[in-house]
Symmetry: C2
């Protein structure tokens, strides 16, 4: 089983090293991790961003599953590129897994970044008058429930690890879920 390794990990100073660690964990579970930085892109080229897009899309199309790192990224929610990729893989009917190293509730995190009040009707509202999604979920409901219905429930630790960008415990739990799925699929293809 090939797994697309999505996440803002690509923006870390040691982005290549963390991708290597993730790929090694996949190998240990009998799986193949596909990491965006494995694509060779000339970042100095005028069309570098388009080359990155094409590389990532081809990798997603080649993969059977996605493990998305939905750890909040520069704000209360997940990285936009990762969210896009989770949606894309759900749309393609692939097996969708994700983890977040921050187990807190989305609405609580919003109140840490933005002025939020409670309306007379009891709804959370931000400074521009826009409602804050308040279902007690760890992030936007479209991401959380696509995992529930098209893969497995978001994996989170009981409490955030000391290093949210390098702790791969929850990532490895996702890899184990993917390995279980790969075994059960191979058994169902081979009934005797």
């Amino acid at each position: 089983m090939k797994i697309y390794l999505a996440g803002p990990d690509v923006f870390l100073p040691d982005a290549v090293a963390i991708g290597r660690r993730k790929a090694e964990i996949c190998v240990r579970h009998g799986l193949t991790g596909l990491y965006p930085l494995d694509n060779t892109v000339d970042l100095a080229a005028a069309d570098a961003s388009l080359a990155i897009f094409r590389g990532n899309e081809a990798m997603m199309d080649a993969a059977d599953a996605i493990i998305a790192n939905l750890t909040p990224f520069r704000g209360p929610g997940a990285d936009a590129g990762t969210v896009y990729e989770l949606g894309y893989m759900a749309g393609r009917g692939k097996f969708c897994l994700a983890y977040s190293n921050d187990p807190t509730v989305y609405a609580d995190r919003v109140t840490r970044y933005f002025p939020v009040t409670r309306s007379a009707q009891g709804h959370l509202v931000d400074g521009d008058g826009l409602a804050v999604e308040d279902f007690g979920l760890p992030d936007n409901l479209m991401m959380i429930h696509t995992l529930d219905l098209h893969g497995a429930r978001l994996v989170t630790p009981r409490q955030a690890p000391a290093d949210i960008w390098h702790d791969l415990t929850s990532f490895e739990a996702c890899v184990a879920l993917a390995a279980d799925r790969a075994i059960s699929k191979s058994n169902s293809n081979n009934p005797d």
Copy 2:
């Protein structure tokens, strides 16, 4: 042609009214707009968020195209639910359109919200040491280039309108693009 109307519009105080205005614009162009709040959901039910998810997914599956409102939402980038939906529709091979009422560049907006410095190598880096995507694009490259390749270029005004949440000029430009596509598809199906 049925168009899924994605966006943080659903979080506005007048969310139903703006959906009605969008649907009316679609009708004027000979198209049908599908708006998430057209689904009936009991918000007091324990599984309300799952019901919303199922309703939105069924609407997307029924639609031929998406028009996503990518106007920055509570931070420098687009709303996560909308980004997920754009990815989902791209994955399903649907026609992907989007607009943003903020024509500025993503990297510039990040510097308005977060402390950003330039590294010795010339890269933009945030306070946690994570790189800031800096290709001169209006948002994350996965969204921008999926539009280029699977629909039409992101529609933005020359300058932000006075009311970024209620001005539908760029939305209507997307509807016109969808109507052109519907006509050209119907002509190609009907060659005589």
